[in-house]
Amino acid sequence: MKDLSCDFLEIGGQKLKSRLFLGTGKFSSNRLIPEAVKASGAQVVTVALRRVDPGFEEENIASYVPKECILMPNTSGARNAAEAVRIARLAREAGCGNWVKIEVITDNRYLLPDNYETIKATEILASEGFVVLPYVSPDLTVARKLVEAGAAAVMPLGAPIGSNRGLRTKELVRILVEEIPLPVIVDAGLGRPSEAAEAMEMGVAAVLVNTAIATAGDPVAMARAFGLAVEAGRLAYLAGPGEVVEYARASSPLTGFLREE
């Protein structure tokens, strides 16, 4: 029987057991972050550099990320590649490591990413040794360019950030999973653990969740639920789900006559 004991996600030279990445921006208290991390089993936690405040330990969001986790600063607030690059460099200088989630957003209504600027930033940062995880609208051509640019993974959105609308981009994400030789991580939009499981079942490498966990009635319990769902979805993917058909297989109306020979 398959299990997950030897199933690792490899990114940037790291072997990750957990395929749930956690966002931190919307918790009602930074103090909930370590609890949510523990409950979910997440090993990668993203924090906006704009919120990192090394001079104020008690209120510094980054200091609530457990030391054993990979801290992945994100470039929230960047409006173009140059700003994303600048933020990533500042993050590295601030001791946040060399992972970076590129987020370039020029649309404050839907928070949809600017794929073009994201590709440019990826190219620069990858060449500087960053482990680059770009957040994009799912698009095969863009994803291929990100591969060429040196991205460590591709992070397509499931639906607009914070919308909790689920995997609305399913067909496009499926194409990326089939065609892109990098981990595909669904970032943004997943609102329910069942949606995370659905994404994992179709073969995405991981999911990143913030709003659905941070704004739940009990964020820690929801973190646990997402952790379980991601594991269930991954195991289901490895197990090889049965084919979905639209009719019962009891008869073969078109070819049944062949058995009579």
């Binding site: 918790f27 209120e59 607030g77 909790n164």
Partner: protein, 366 residues
Amino acid sequence: MSFYEVLKEYKDFDFEEFFARIKPADVKRVLAKDRLDGRDYLVLLSPPAEAFLEEMAQKAHRLTVQHFGRTVLLYTPLYISDYCVNSCLYCGFKAENPIKRKKLSPEEVEAEARLIASTGLKHVLVLTGESRRHSPVSYIKECVEVLKKYFTSIGIEIYPLWEEEYAELVWAGVDGITIYQEVYDEEVYAQLHPAGPKRDFVFRLDAPERACRAGMRTANVGALLGLNDWRREAFFTGLHACYLQDAFPAVEVSISPPRLRPHLGSFEPRVRVTDKNLVQYILAFRLFMPRGGITISTRERPELRDRLVLLGATRMSAGSCTAVGGRVQKEGAGQFDISDDRSVAEVAAMLYSRGYQPVYKDWQYL
């Protein structure tokens, strides 16, 4: 294009007739919508919508948590000069008021900055009166240079500038602009601003647009409530915010709903804006612009501010002082009296007690 064109479209609009036709079913229909247009927003600002405040509040709360999380950004105003050549009838700094004027030296700015920074705040809003002689752009830049050492986000609430001047300040490190039109009704505006450069209604109206073009990251607009019919003013403030968001999708647009406070002088509010009115405005705006920021200053009393956190507020000032150099010297006439004199730590504690994370830093000077 200018927001003035939008305003002109409403020149002969009969608000009373519009409100008179609204039925409860119209309000319910708007409440069921995901995306509201300007007319929907006006329905929520109408007298009949007052019967639906709880429904509006539930939805506003849900949207705010969804888009901003349970977080509130804290900032504080820093008055650096109260020299002013305008004669705004409602303002404590108006030119005719016989107050001893003051302008902070860079050293004094630093002393104030040090005190503010010791509270943990990283966002500061720089304010001046309008005097190009006493507080020219070069002086503001000089102050920004000092403030950059202590804060990661610097906003300005000063007199309207030309685009190139805004660009200079952006280059110097300013990332946000707050400018209140005060009154969107041009005639009332003319009555309340009898002298000084502020008489130019359109130059002020277009200021946030010029600032956004110059590269500001955040723009905050508002009408001073109490000067004119609040429903119209709330409506035009919302439309102005929406206009800016459409024109500058990358800018974080927000509104302030400041109510007129007592100040030196004898101006009485022309219109009484109740707590209920203020709440209706905040809720309607949240439903109209789910991702729009809502700034609540210390003009409001603590017990009301505490409740507004749950209704849509996303930014709050704390530890405020409206006098130039007032934090260090503990004296001087303020622009207006504040209602919430709690310290930053006390406001943060209130937020925690309500299940909200106070955010001290939400931008990084690049």
